[in-house]
């Protein structure tokens, strides 16, 4: 219980620090939403008027406090740039809620790929005694992990999109309109996300299994006359999977936080793309909440992973 309270306090503290950092960042970077909206046509009077409308003329500290107060009350504020209609700007929560399904679906689909491919691969690899195969898999996974996500996106677009024409790059359909078309389009971005993670997970699972195979209980099982197959699937895999599950958890966090580049390459209107465009249009309320959200996801997942570890292996907490 004490542990939980401490973790929760840390979570809140980190979120606070991140929000301050983001706020400071916006104080420092040149240009504000007013220059972004008015562009080269701005007269100083117009700019002043707009700043007043948006409350940007108040001192920074006052603005931060009023913003933070609203967030604590559950009011995430409105976007500076996107209007729902002329009388009302788009609420940030609605804007993000609109984009979030795209990023989450991408993460989910990638996870399916990772789970379906990486786990059998890892098991197969751990059990394989073939040295040549071992080297091939080792070098292959190393290579897959060495491809930067943006280059992978380019490669996937080039081979599947332009050479093979298996999908049309950019022909994104909204999930509200055509759910299966949406999923179909997400397959290739998901592949780009998944490839390096598949390699990582397979390596991790293999190492985890190999470690388990040297454990005492495995020797005991062998000595009791269990076949290698029984040992591998009955004992080792089950135990080896535990750290892998937590590892996969971290990958989810990484995908959500790292969606920025892939969404950019494939033109997916998810939160990563929203973050980039909101930074460049200086849409502060959107950026703040997005950063807080991403931070929140990352910290919570890490926290859950940590808890899971303790549940699996009580030794950690007594240490």
């Amino acid at each position: 219980m004490k542990y939980l309270v401490k973790k929760l306090a840390t979570l809140i503290l980190t979120l606070f620090l991140v929000s301050v950092l983001a706020f400071l960042a916006f104080q420092i970077i040149p240009g504000d939403v007013v220059t972004s909206i008015l562009g080269t046509e701005a007269t100083p009077e117009q700019a002043q008027q707009l700043r007043e409308e948006l409350g940007l003329n108040k001192p920074p500290l006052v603005r931060y406090i009023s913003w933070a107060g609203n967030v604590l009350k559950g009011n995430f504020g409105n976007s500076y740039r996107y209007s729902k209609n002329m009388n009302q700007m788009m609420p940030v929560s609605e804007l993000i809620g609109d984009k979030l399904p795209v990023t989450l679906s991408l993460a989910f689909l990638s996870m399916i790929f990772i789970a379906v491919i990486a786990i059998p691969l890892g098991v197969f690899w751990a059990r394989s005694k073939n040295r040549v195969l071992d080297v091939i898999l080792n070098v292959g996974t190393q290579t897959a992990m060495a491809v930067p996500s943006f280059f992978l996106g380019v490669l996937v677009t080039y081979f599947f999109g332009i050479l093979l024409r298996w999908f049309s790059p950019g022909r994104y359909v909204s999930y509200e309109k055509d759910f299966w078309g949406f999923v179909g389009y997400l397959i290739f971005p998901a592949i780009s996300v998944a490839i390096p993670k598949i390699a990582m997970t397979a390596r991790f699972l293999r190492n985890s299994m190999l470690t388990e195979m040297h454990a005492d209980y495995v020797r005991t099982a062998y000595s009791k006359g269990a076949t290698e197959r029984q040992v591998a699937y009955g004992h080792v895999l089950r135990n080896a999977m535990m750290p892998v599950v937590t590892f996969l958890g971290m990958i989810i966090a990484e995908i959500v936080a790292g969606s920025i580049v892939v969404e950019q390459v494939f033109g997916l209107p998810g939160i990563g793309k929203l973050l980039i465009s909101s930074i460049s249009t200086r849409d502060f309320p959107v950026v703040e909440i997005l950063i807080l959200y991403i931070t929140f996801v990352v910290i919570v997942v890490y926290f859950l992973v940590d808890v899971l570890y303790r549940v699996i292996d009580p030794r950690i907490s007594t240490k």
Binding site: T10, L13, T14, L17, V18, L21, A22, L24, A25, I28, I29, P30, N138, V139, Q142, T143, M145, A146, V147, P148, S149, F150, F151, V154, L155, T157, Y158, I162, A257, I260, V261, Q264, L275, I276, I279, V287, I291, I294, T295, V298, I299
Partner: protein, 279 residues
């Protein structure tokens, strides 16, 4: 000859291949400082989009510039920038991690929270901030990524220091009245290097990927300095017409990163087999 062959056979293959790959890349990068086949910035309207040939090993780009020369220069940029990033972030990591790990307490707690915050902060925004304060260019990419990567070293160094601060030999040193700083940097630090080296090679890879990623998004190294990431993003628009333009810098990044991965795998395996021999 035989000797060399025998020596080679004994060596760890991962280390060897990794060394060759990174060595080749670094050599090309260094060579670019004094010589490239063509000037990396010389334009020629007659030679636009030439496919790879003996004349132009990697072909030419939309301005008729020789891609091989640009890739060479790009490697040079990438390797120097990444080295500097690793030095900054690892240096900061050692200093902060050692102090907080050894002394603990409120300072430790505060610094860990800050590293958490920096860690979970979108690196692009951070980069934008640093670049807008200092202006863009190589130095600022180095600085901003140095800051971004420091927390991961802090974590590693800190946990090692926590592990070792209660070790018997440290206790003894403390009893003998050795000063705190001496314990920190003379007694503990050398003992964490094996763990540290692996994270440095991994850090190298992360630095290379991040630098090219930032350049890809347009906030990194500035033209006319060639950067692999920037080349790749420039080339993306010509994927159908001149695929080599994108493939050359892209595959080069893969080559360098893979080289460092194999190198770190080699070091790790070497360390393990080394230990066994001692045992």
């Amino acid at each position: 000859m035989k000797r060399i062959a025998a020596w080679l056979k004994k060596q760890n293959k991962y280390l060897l291949v990794g060394l060759i790959m990174t060595g080749l890349a670094v050599a090309l990068g260094l060579l670019s400082l004094v010589w490239t086949p063509y000037s990396p910035t010389a334009m020629s309207s007659a030679e636009r989009f030439h496919a790879p040939s003996f004349r132009h090993l990697f072909g030419t780009d939309n301005f008729g510039r020789d891609i091989f020369s640009r890739v060479m220069q790009g490697i040079g940029t990438t390797v120097t920038v990444s080295t500097a990033i690793v030095i900054i972030s690892a240096g900061a990591g050692i200093l902060v991690g050692a102090v907080t790990g050894y002394f603990g307490g409120i300072l430790d707690e505060a610094i860990m929270r800050i590293t958490d915050a920096v860690n979970s902060f979108p690196s692009i925004l951070l980069a934008l901030v640093v670049i807008s304060i200092m202006g863009s260019g190589k130095q600022n990419v180095i600085l901003s990524l140095g800051i971004v990567f420091a927390p991961s070293y802090v974590r590693i160094v800190r946990s090692e220091f926590i592990r070792l601060r209660d070790a018997d030999y440290i206790m003894r040193a403390r009893l003998m009245g050795v000063s705190k700083w001496r314990i920190l940097f003379v007694h503990i630090l050398p003992n964490i290097f094996s763990v540290f080296w692996v994270s440095v090679t991994i850090g190298f890879n992360n630095a290379i990927l991040a630098e090219s990623g930032m350049s890809y998004l347009g906030v990194g190294v500035q033209p006319p300095d060639a950067s692999l990431g920037k080349m790749l993003s420039d080339a993306q628009g010509y994927l159908g017409r001149a695929p080599w333009y994108a493939l050359a810098p892209g595959l080069t990044i893969v080559w360098i990163v893979l080289g460092f991965s194999l190198l770190s795998e080699g070091i790790r395996r070497g360390a393990i087999s080394g230990k066994r021999e001692v045992e």
